[in-house]
């Protein structure tokens, strides 16, 4: 036997690959093979589709946002409603698919990491549905920030393991989940929630999330007779973004826009803007754009949103940005908060703080596009999980003054 190089396998241009301890390589090869077989098996596809329909509630609607459209004075705004998927975010699309894949592979238990808790809840949900034990690693700081989701995971029967190392956020939870996986790789499947990590994860997660964009294609044809002129999504690790954008990569007339966490501002070093300010590096098993210092030490990211304070990003998004196919912008914590209230009050939808970043750049994009154009905003998740964080800051006087 000789060992093939992965110069092309699992690569998106220079990004991607499989940078993990040798202990995990055979498991990743097994996963790659099992996934290829599952993908080629119509029965597996049918099973996933059926669970998504009967349990998750797909398809999710494409809702016209009449009052935002009027207020922004530009393109017609449409909301892809992943907040209406069971568990309240797009994350469930991937966990259903991966847990079914794990069952097919004969795995006995599931581990996962989570930042905001949405992926943890989605994994715990899929595990409860199919009767698999589930362990979720979560940064201790996020355990505090996302108490509601911690309770939900525990109620669903999952074990939540707070990680006290490093920045105590998603990055450290992912390190700990990988370390655990190294010790238990024979009978355990690691459900990664972002389109990140070692090959084949970025491909698997993207494929399971691409249902979002595929539905947008069909729905936009039915609702306004053509493809949207632009699609905008928030980017942490990037699973909702690659999911809604991927089916449109070949449609050059569709502008693809990602919005990263600007945190306290791009000049403060307290942000999560790895596509905007990151440099090439290896984090959590793949080569991508990462926030790091000149010595290759990974920097701590910051965002008001626990789902966006990750110093890396999925390799395919890095490739799309590097090649110019995708535009990247940022929104600060304050802009996201402002957008949260704006969307809540004008559309009757409490968006997740992650999603609020996409909304924060929506107005300018709608105006850039102009009237007669169609803008889709991926409403990746609902904000119920964030109300404690947001309420703790108090409703700004400017907002209460306008509306009360």
């Amino acid at each position: 036997m000789s060992i093939e190089t992965s110069a092309t396998v699992g690569r998106f241009g220079p990004f991607g690959g499989r940078y993990v301890p040798e202990t995990l390589v055979p498991a990743l090869l097994e996963l790659e093979e099992a996934y290829a077989a599952a993908r080629a098996d119509p029965a597996f596809g049918k099973q996933v589709t059926q669970v998504l329909k009967e349990f998750v509630g797909r398809e999710t609607p494409l809702t016209p946002a009449h009052r935002l459209t009027a207020a922004w004075g530009g393109a017609q705004v449409w909301l892809k409603r992943e907040d209406l998927a069971h568990t309240g975010a797009h994350k469930i699309n991937n966990t259903i698919g991966q847990v079914l894949l794990a069952l097919r592979m004969g795995k006995k238990r599931i581990i996962a990491e989570t930042g905001a808790g949405q992926h943890g809840v989605a994994t715990a949900t899929a595990c409860a549905l199919f009767g698999l034990p589930c362990e979720v690693y979560m940064g201790a700081l996020d355990v505090e920030r996302q108490a509601l989701n911690v309770f939900r995971m525990r109620a669903l029967g999952a074990t939540v393991r707070p990680v006290e190392l490093g920045s105590k956020t998603l990055k450290d939870a992912m390190n700990e989940a990988m370390r655990t996986w190294v010790s238990q790789v024979q009978d355990t499947h690691y459900v990664i929630g972002s389109a990140a990590g070692p090959h084949p994860y970025p491909t698997i997660v993207r494929d399971f999330q691409a249902i979002i964009g595929q539905e947008v294609r069909t729905q936009s044809q039915a609702l306004f007779g053509r493809l949207p002129d632009a699609i905008i999504a928030c980017v942490g690790g990037g699973s909702n973004a690659i999911g809604v954008l991927h089916p449109f990569i070949g449609d050059k007339q569709v502008r693809l826009v990602g919005v990263e966490a600007g945190g306290h501002g791009l000049n403060t070093q307290q942000h999560g803007a790895s596509l905007t300010l990151g440099t090439e590096g290896v984090l959590h098993g793949s080569r991508s754009l990462v926030l790091q210092d000149e010595n290759g030490q990974i920097q701590e990211a910051h965002s008001i949103s626990a789902g966006l304070d990750y110093p890396g990003v999925g390799p395919e998004l890095a490739f799309l940005v590097k090649t110019g196919r995708m535009e990247i912008r940022t929104a600060t914590d304050d802009e996201a908060l402002q957008a949260f209230y704006e969307v809540s009050r004008s559309e009757g939808i409490l968006p997740a703080l992650e999603t609020s970043h996409a909304f924060a750049r929506g107005a300018e994009l709608a105006r850039e596009l102009g009237k007669g154009k169609h803008l889709v905003i991926n409403c990746s998740g609902r904000g119920d999980k964030d109300v404690a964080t947001i309420a703790a800051r108090g409703i700004p006087a400017a907002i209460t003054g306008n509306k009360s």
């Binding site: 301890p21 010790s183 790789v185």
Partner: protein
């Protein structure tokens, strides 16, 4: 090939001993005092020194080495500073001992793979271990290392299937680092029962010496492994000893493990 590593194994063998590859974290507790730890380990009988360079996200390491990384980063350790400030001092005090760097690929990439290879060789480094760089990803970097005679030391895991283990061994530089347990670095009370047969398989295929590491902390474990491998790697146990009781404790533990390696 550097040649120094092979010579160190041969010397130990000629004395009727298995080789001890001893790991410590450069910069723990600070840069100068980590030099004392390395020197003490050689006094205790270490045949090869493994110089840990801290990384912020060490996914192959258990808690003992993770915490050492955090201390080293706080003390200002970086690959450049380790090569410029720690390695020359260690060289001075242990001129006969081959030095091997262990760090993560991102740390080397940040400096530049070719630049690192050249600088490391200039400073007297014989080999490098990158635990998150499996063979599939290592072709380019190995060519850069080969060009200057720096050995890229491969790892073999308990989960590695036999044919793959043989392929890794056949192509190895320096020595083969057989990971004894499926897991991260750290001490273990017991080692897997099938370890000896895995070591024999790798040994048959490998043109270079083979070692086992991860989980080894006692003379008894060293003796058991020494029957099937050319040496052992000890890391977490030494890091813990040095952190708790200073260089002398690391020296003593090295001497104890060396006793286990006598044939």
């Amino acid at each position: 090939m550097s040649g120094e590593i092979a010579a160190a194994f041969a010397k130990a063998k000629a004395r009727g001993e298995g080789a001890l590859v001893a790991y410590a974290m450069a910069g723990d507790p600070d840069l100068p005092r980590s030099v004392d730890v390395f020197a003490a380990m050689v006094e205790g009988g270490a045949d090869i020194l493994e110089i840990g360079v801290a990384f912020s996200d060490p996914i192959a390491d258990g808690p003992v080495i993770q915490e050492a990384s955090e201390r080293a980063l706080k003390a200002g350790a970086s690959l450049k500073r380790v090569l410029n400030e720690v390695v020359p001092e260690v060289r001075k005090r242990c001129p006969e001992t081959p030095l091997v760097v262990m760090t993560y690929i991102n740390v080397v990439m940040a400096l530049g793979e070719e630049k690192y290879a050249k600088l490391a060789r200039e400073k007297g480094i014989s080999g490098t271990i990158l635990p998150d760089l499996p063979p599939e990803e290592s072709v380019g970097i190995r060519a850069a290392f080969d060009a200057v005679g720096l050995d890229l030391i491969p790892l073999c895991a308990p989960t590695t299937p036999p044919a793959r283990a043989e392929a890794i061994a056949r192509d190895a530089r320096g020595f083969v680092y057989c990971v004894s347990v499926a897991g991260v670095t750290g001490m273990r009370a017991e080692l897997p029962v099938d370890l000896s047969s895995r070591l024999e398989l790798v040994k048959r295929a490998s043109p270079v010496p083979i070692t086992a590491g991860f989980g080894i902390s006692t003379a008894e474990q060293a003796r058991a492994i020494g029957a099937h491998a050319d040496g052992v790697v000890v890391g977490s146990a030494l890091v813990r000893a040095a952190h708790a009781d200073g260089p002398a404790a690391a020296r003593q533990l090295c001497a104890e493990i060396k006793r286990g390696l006598k044939r």
